[in-house]
Symmetry: C3
Subunit: 302 residues, 3 copies
């Protein structure tokens, strides 16, 4: 296993399965998380250079559950504002004894940082549009909880795929497994890179895409983006791509519906479907804490 977690492409099937099995051990029978002071000597910096609620909080809660010190790094009030580079900042934190940085950044800079500061351990908390590996892990964990395995599943991803780091990490993660089929769906303007993709087929008609699906991953639509591109009308979008009860019925009757959150209710998913038993979206959030506890434990232990 690498020193850093930047991409699921760096993990083998066994490493992924072990991390997920490890994560399960942090969940108590009542659904709460184990809290033991396993790493009282470790200090983690939680550096989010883009707005985030759930990923940042999830890492912070995971780290505190493990008994780590957490440095909540407020990029607004820091010297980063005044031109200090992220390199200088992380180098300084390393010298101050920070053991591990969780880093979210709008650009793809983490790989370069690992070269400059080899003594630091980096966990990506989301990097540009290229990677969000702990999201990928929690997605796989959720599938395994319901389907026992990713092998032999018919998987559909629908939405704004082109700019989705969630999709990128999800595909890297499942490519270690023998899934049966992978189908991309969504407005052609949002799936330009997926119309000739090595690992899956593009099906613009969501009704056809969903036929026989076991696992459906819906992505968040950025309102800003819908408004900006007047080629896409929101009512038309909902008509063609919203996952509602009728559409969900085209999938396998035990299909699960996932979404990285936060959901735009009644845009990409109808309220009725969101609240249905097939929706495992809220379970994904809980799994996020367990996965991050496992990831932090693993990478802190070297």
């Amino acid at each position: 296993m690498n020193k850093n977690l930047l991409s699921l492409a760096d993990l083998s099937r066994k490493e992924i399965e072990d991390l997920i099995a490890f994560a399960e051990k942090f969940i108590n029978e009542d659904g709460s998380f184990k809290k033991e002071s396993l790493f009282p000597d470790k200090t983690i910096a939680n550096i989010f250079c883009e707005p985030s609620t759930r990923t940042k909080s999830s890492f912070e809660i995971a780290a505190k559950n493990l008994g780590c010190h957490v440095l909540d790094f407020d990029t607004d009030s820091s010297s980063l504002q005044k031109g200090e580079s992220i390199y200088d900042t992380v180098d300084a934190l390393s010298l101050m004894g920070v053991d591990l940085c969780v880093l979210r950044h709008s650009e793809s800079i983490i790989h370069e940082l690992t070269q400059y500061i080899p003594e630091m351990t980096f966990i990506s908390g989301g990097e540009g549009s290229i990677s969000h590996p702990t999201q990928g892990l929690l997605d796989l964990m959720t599938i395994i909880q319901h389907k026992e395995t990713i092998d032999n599943q018919n998987i559909v991803i629908v939405g704004d795929l082109d700019h989705s780091r969630v999709t990128a990490s999800f595909i890297q993660g499942i490519s270690n497994f023998d899934f049966k089929s992978l189908t991309f769906s969504g407005h052609p303007e949002m799936c330009k890179s997926f119309q000739n993709h090595a690992q899956g087929k593009y099906e613009p008609d969501l009704n056809l895409a969903l036929a026989g699906a076991d696992v459906i991953v819906a992505l968040r639509i950025q309102h800003e983006r819908l408004e900006a591109e007047d080629i896409i009308d929101i009512d038309q979008y909902k008509y063609e791509y919203q996952i509602n009860s009728e559409r969900l019925a085209m999938a396998h009757e035990e299909a699960i519906l996932m979404h990285p959150g936060p959901v735009n209710l009644d845009i990409e998913i109808s309220t009725m479907v969101y609240e249905s038993e097939q929706s495992v979206i809220r379970q994904q959030i809980a799994n996020g804490v367990a996965i991050r506890m496992a990831v932090l434990s693993q990478y802190l232990s070297g």
Copy 2:
């Protein structure tokens, strides 16, 4: 006792007295606060969607004194900025294992949140202009420390009553007790809702209002408001409503003067009065930590 603390209207006299007695137990003889790791397995989110210094810090200190994990929720850098609703945020925190949310919001939304997310425990940290229950409790605690009881007290509230959540909670709190009289005073433009009030009488002449008072609660005047409404001149305001030594002398000689802070010195209260022995304003701040330790303990214990 309810699962949540949103309003003092939900507490009985006995519940209020028990909470205050409980709070006293967290204060050491030298005035410091007890620090015991009573809740090492509990995680609290401190969500303040309005600027706050003392209430937010007071809850954070109280929670840490009890050994809780505290998630300091920075609403500026969170997804709340980008349109994620407070509902989504609190629901996600609940799934991540947060046991209790302290929430301040400029609008009256906490009751609705309790309906949507019944598994979360909510403590109001101030809600719109309708409620600030822990402030009410610390006010009652301060009166009881000096007067032994709220029964039989002549109580005066003076200042900008119309928009005061402090006043709202204070009145709800004392209405469980047999106070002797409750008098509202202040500029008529700031007391419109208090000129025909079921629980007290309005007396625009502060000199008359203070006659025989045992407990005086002065409220903060918003400079912005004084300036905005040119019907109110600041010098005239001070002439008519500032609590100075002459005015305080009209009250009972053992009257106490309270204020939720921060005080605009020499506007609503003269420096000499602020520093006098009758001023218990700084003691209110200390009591705030003890009350919040009691409230958190109580509501975390279910």
Copy 3:
């Protein structure tokens, strides 16, 4: 020793040497810092009213290494924004049980605060252009690690001296020792107060200033300042004042180069020099944590 640490002028040679020796004890053989819960009952507020990365993080890490509770005081979202004075804020924190305030402020207000709130312990985290005492201590610690003593050293400070609180504290610190010489260098427009200075001589020619130097302190040039004052051209500045390999060779061959950071690489210091063995700049950052652990321990113990 005073109750507060506002200026190195308040410390004797012995007190400085003891603090540095104390700091060394917090460093493990592998360079990591000791983490023991020495002060589980102490609460520290980290109040930075100017942007800061390393000093703020350094104090936070130091405090957590000692087992203190740390209140991370976000001045952006606090009532300070709305006109509450820093006096009101610190007075309130004191009443809430905060034992020690680390305070950075753009103005020289800490001395006045110590008068108003005598029960609080204050550690300056940088005050206007007058003082940055823990930076001074870590600078002295770094010199002693390499030179065993500050006595008999030829010391050069170069850069924007006039507005440098780092320089102010450094001079106060070394004035307790028998250094051999102290030379100020830099553009005349940036050294106006140092051209007739009681404790050192001004030498505008950096080549001459560096001759025989044992210790070189380079200061950060504010880009804003260079741009604002069109009397100073950036290329001319680098030509005359950048510390590059040729210039460093004029100093003693075992001279050390220090800088408070963050460095503008290839402006005040060349990359080659920054990465050379004579550069102890990154070691200064590590020493910062050890010094702040020693300072917090000392001043928390009274």
